[in-house]
Assembly symmetry: C2
Homo-oligomer: 350 residues x 2
Amino acid sequence: MPATIRDVARESGVHISTVSRTFSAPHLVNAETRSRVLACAEMLGYRPNRAARALITGRTYNIGLIVADIANPFFPPLIKAAESQARQRDHHIFIADTNEDATVEEELVRALAKQVDGVLLCSPRMSNSLIEQLSREVPLVVVNRQIPGLPAVVMDVAQGARLAVEHLTGLGHTEIALVAGPRGSWTSREIRRSAVAAARAAGTELTVIGPNPPTEDGGMAVAEQVIRTGVTAVLAYNDLMAIGLIEGLQSRDVRVPRDVSVVGIDDITLSRLIRPKLTTVATPAAAAGRAAVDMLLAHGDDRRTTAQVNLQTELVIRDSTGQGPGPHSPADPGNVIAPALDGVASYAKE
Amino acid sequence: MPATIRDVARESGVHISTVSRTFSAPHLVNAETRSRVLACAEMLGYRPNRAARALITGRTYNIGLIVADIANPFFPPLIKAAESQARQRDHHIFIADTNEDATVEEELVRALAKQVDGVLLCSPRMSNSLIEQLSREVPLVVVNRQIPGLPAVVMDVAQGARLAVEHLTGLGHTEIALVAGPRGSWTSREIRRSAVAAARAAGTELTVIGPNPPTEDGGMAVAEQVIRTGVTAVLAYNDLMAIGLIEGLQSRDVRVPRDVSVVGIDDITLSRLIRPKLTTVATPAAAAGRAAVDMLLAHGDDRRTTAQVNLQTELVIRDSTGQGPGPHSPADPGNVIAPALDGVASYAKE
DNA sequence: ATGAAAGCGCTAACAT
DNA sequence: ATGTTAGCGCTTTCAT
């Protein structure tokens, strides 16, 4: 039987509304009364029931966090950062996993809507129009997707993909494959768009393979196809796929980076632990989690601030990329920074 | 403005209690009325407000999940499984991260208590007595810890540690180090107890190093110390530490497994991706997550079922362990199963 | 500065 | 089978 506001009121000999004020508007209550009430509350282990409070105030102090796959190493740092930031702001996090399923996403947003002040929708696979509709039912901040008029936190993967392709062409690769991510992924489209443009600018052939499931298996599954295309370099949708691809290539006696260079995206912890260490585009997942929480909570203050935060990405050159068949450009940053040193080529946003 | 029960009542021309019954006790309402109410609800996008419902029923349909570190690769599969299982049972999950801090644990349990039907406390660092006290304030299921009288899901790491030590002694190692985990960890104590016993039984020297932070850095930090002890084999508290240790050893030109064999615990995804592939004790994290949710929810049906689930572990022999200086025993399973095949030596519980 | 009263959205006896 | 009433724990006018 947890203590209620009534227990505290009785114990401290005041009306329940005074107890209420002690917690939600302390300045309105006499200092002496306040400390007495506080003492009784402490003694009884009283904590205001947030759900009851929410019923009348409309603020739950909860946030929904919907991700495609908790077990995908990209997400845990984001989740951790979001939870930490939320708790610092006195909020709690509902976590939910959609298994990359757009239908589940919709259902989850609706299911959580009443219990939260807003939902962080990470890498959604739903249509824009559905997301817009949902955002009318509950405050939404979208992560890894840009939708006109909606607050969003995105990572500049376009920039990252461009750097990656430039790195590869700079190394002399003239035939590159892009292993795409899942259907419905904004990030995958961005990467594709940018990689195609960068390849064209460099006069390089770019073959798109996909869509594919964004997993290690997904990467492994395209190894055969990558080999058949005859490319000497690959940019993968994410590190997990890059790692799977490398496994697939190696098991077919294709060496990385000697025969084929591979670049991933995300810079998950794994990437510097496998051999060869993975060259990859680092995406600031933790920063995204924090930013998303901040945006959602700021939303309360100034109405209709549909700011969009664009977080910078960096190319981290390690050991999975090497010389291609063509002439290599000495201007390429990849040649300047020693791979063994976990070189980071960072570019400010224009 | 989300629709309330009153809107639906008005729209369908019945009293709100009929609407209520339509959702919480459908069999008590006339089939025709029911479908009419349902239709109106559907049309208005009505969903019962769970917080309001909880206020009177006492059931929130929420579960708290408290873990030491979301970003530790051991936890995401557990979290994912728990969330999936919970949702299947129509519950939502609050996630919280304690950063391995016992004080935060206590605070979090209390903060969540009112909004959940129970809390899953994973690998807690608190004292037993504090946990017992908290379990009087909110239903608790403890994971990775055994406390008399409390429902718990544990993994049989004692068995795993024994298998690991036997594997090492079987390979001819006569001086083994145990790299312990964090202070306050039940798992770490279990491993230690069991490893010490197994070593003694085999007439082998076992040096305990620690406690240590259960991270890659924690493992890396003890490399020097491991070398100084002169051991030829190490059992680490978890894979992350084992991996850090291997890095630390390699950077000091100590080869694994040629000079030193290393065994981890957990079998995180990483373990089969690094080189050498890590020999490790596989712990069923996903099964633990599911079981914990099931126990918590079952708790409602039959009162005071303080069952304790003990999940089996397996030794997965890969490439980070090899021949020691002493005579090796041909009876050792490690010699039977080809390391390259990801051999699994599984033993039924006694 | 404090108390009284109404009500947030819902369920659960109790009537009918 | 449905309506009536009370009230879960809390906040918020409105009085005093």
